[in-house]
Amino acid sequence: MIDTLYSLDALGTSQAFFLALLIGFGFGFALERAGFSSSRRLAGVFYFTDMAVVKVMFSTLITAMMGLSYLVGFGWIQLDQIFLMPTIYGAQIVGGLLFGVGFVMGGWCPGTAAAGLAAGRIDALVFLLGVTGGSILFNEVFPVIHSLYKAGDHGTQMAYTTVGMSRNGFILALTLVGVAAFWLSEWAEKARTGRGTYLGSPFLKAFSMVLVVLAVGLFVLSPATTGATAKLTGAVTVTAVDEKALMERVEQALDHIEPEELADRLMAGEPDLVVVDVRPAVEFNAFHIRGALNVPLAQLVETLQPYQSKGLIVLYSNGMTHPAQARDSLQRQGFGNVYLLTDGLQGFRGRCLKPVSLRSEPLTTVDAARVNAWRAFFAAPAAPAAPAVSAEVGVFISPLNAAMPRVVETDWLAARLGTPGLKVIDLRPQPEYNAAHIPGTLSLNVESFRGNMGGVPSVLLPPPMLAAQFSLLGLQPSDTIVLVSGDKLYDTTLAGMAFERLGHMDYAVLNGGYAKWAQEGRPTDAALPTVTESKYPVKKDADDFTVDFQAVAAQLGKPDVVIIDVRPADFYTGKKSDEARAGHIPGAVSRPFTEDVITSSNKVVSFKPADALAAAYSQIIPSKATEVIVHCRTGHQASQTFFMLKRLLGYTNVRWYDAGWTEWAARSELPIVNETQDVKSKK
């Protein structure tokens, strides 16, 4: 079985980009070989002078269709591993009609224009500029045409189902139409220009024959599942009344459950909801809807006996045929509570699990959050498979009750965005916040948590003042807080110190900050959130971690206390200074805060992997219980080291000298060490 990049949700990776480039190369090469780098040749199809477009298009379509059907027939790939675009009749009919006009006017379509540009056609360049402009125009008028864009949405719709044929029958019919089109094209060319190169040629005869034979061959390879003749059960008394009731349910689609509804019900942990996967075990093990039971069709009645007419039984397979037959059989045997998952697993994947970034239709913020929540619940890498699958039924962990990580990833946040009680605070400068932010986030300048106390500038405010600010932000002690920074990750940890001071431990830092969120193309908006002022209680005794200069001075010279100076190394040595005195506290070790984060090319700042950090700090701090004091100049950068040591690495005895070097340097009675020869002390 082949895993496509789409099915692995890896179309956004650099590997996918490279493969897309290669496939594009083949595409462009073939287009040009066909002579589609000439607008005159392309337009010829509309004047019956050059029918190459019809010949190439049908050959391509039939080849790919046939190839794919054979691969599916051999079991090498499944259709649901391929992105099946939704059928939206209104948009596609109007789009197609418009497209035809543009095509015949411009003499190009987007792909062939790329080929035309490569062959030096200036009209192709102009056409492409037009396409770019048309796309931008579309975006600008999108709000106006929104209803047309969605008009006649039927989801994934296979043409053979629409016209009520078998898949193989439809393929044969389409192949025959294609072959007829080839011959008509040749005939039209001959009538119009006297050419008709392949009309009646041995080549075209052979080519037509091969295609038809291949289409017929599909009937042999994968015979269609033949209706209700495959009996699931033996002798069952069927009454006319039962059958009528069944038919009525079928007619009213009462026997269907939509993927979205099933997803929500499963996530809500609804009791008495039994989801049954009737596919072979191999497929079930590869992927299944979380919580589903795998029951072979033959054992369905037996296995489901305990659930008969109790709660809800939902059957699914890749498509709809097998579950529908099984449902009919169960119904005949007295199960009145059996439902089919609309569009099967294929529909569930497309409608619930398809990443927001790959959807062609834009989603509202609410819908996007819903999709992300589904994805986090159903599409997350499976935990080691539980041997007793049935134990999964009904087991459910609330997204917010699960052990809260201290550093959360964008996926984590995306999956929970919009959850009541989750407050996201954006600490970037206000203009950046105003331009675009994660939907629903509050803006905060972290400096508003600091002020001048005791003559020392920039120290964290006392609990009553912090509580007053929390109240203005509408925060509650029960809220889960996620802090989001720009390129200063330590803004989040400084804000974290304020939460720690008030004993609000349910807070986390978004790894990579807003930059990572935006880079991943996740939803943003520019709206301000609605905030109701709260009364955040003042808790005064939670802060046992902030120390003043006396406390630090008292520890000087003690071998079992580690003082870490997190400022850049030049400030530690005294080479640089913007304070009263240059240098560092005697006995302090230097570990710049910048060593603990990685900054990638586009300002995405994340913590280094925990094991790398643990290894580095095990060299500096003897044990997890060692008393550690961290400081920088104003307490800002040191908050990052504090958070990392205490909340990520589990050091239990970490203190924060908030006033930092600003205060220490200014108090001339305190000792310092300056490693540079030319002492730059300004005093």
């Binding site: 298009m57 050959s59 006017m105 987007p110 770019t132 931008i136 927001v356 675009a436």
Partner: protein, 177 residues
């Protein structure tokens, strides 16, 4: 003429057999299905380029717009953008090999350059708009969706040719010799 060779001289080679090229193209499309799990696409790449231009003009406006907004702040990081670049390079190689590169505005001899480029631009705008509406163009919808036997894609294909033939007479002059 026989000794004249090189890119802009000499005779272009004849086009390949359209049926065999179609088979080749079908195999490329099949490879795209199997490897990427998605068909070929051209207009999607161009639209993402359009979104990045829109970003350059006004990032806040683009990010807050309903359609482009969901593509994020780096719309060029999209597989179809890379496919589009590949399409250009692949065609360039083929055109070089076949000696078909000509810097020209392709048109009927009796038609003016202005008319032809005007039609090309207007056609481009319509195609760009229509591709977004229909979720794809001749590559993404008609060919890829058609090969997957999707109802909407086949309907798109039929509508495309129907209106193309209907409008052909109106814009025929650009090809008159």
């Amino acid at each position: 003429m026989a000794n004249e060779t090189g890119i802009f001289h000499g005779e272009p080679k004849p086009y390949a057999n359209p049926y065999l090229v179609g088979v080749l193209l079908g195999l490329v499309l099949l490879a795209s299905f199997v490897i990427l799990g998605a068909g070929l696409g051209a207009s999607g790449g161009i639209a993402h380029i359009g979104a990045s231009i829109s970003m350059a003009v006004s990032a806040p406006h683009t990010l807050s717009s309903e359609y482009f907004g969901k593509w994020g702040s780096t719309p060029l990081n999209y597989y179809l953008v890379f496919m589009f670049v590949g399409t250009f390079v692949g065609a360039l190689l083929s055109a070089l090999l076949a000696n078909r590169i000509r810097l020209q505005v392709e048109r009927g001899a009796a038609s003016s350059v202005g008319r032809r480029l005007g039609y090309a631009l207007a056609g481009g705008v319509i195609v760009g708009f229509a591709s977004r509406l229909a979720r794809g163009c001749t590559s993404g919808q008609a060919l890829s969706g058609g090969a997957l036997l999707l109802s909407g894609s086949l309907v798109f294909l039929v509508c495309l040719f129907a209106s193309g033939y209907a409008a052909a007479w109106l814009v025929r002059r650009q090809w008159h010799d």
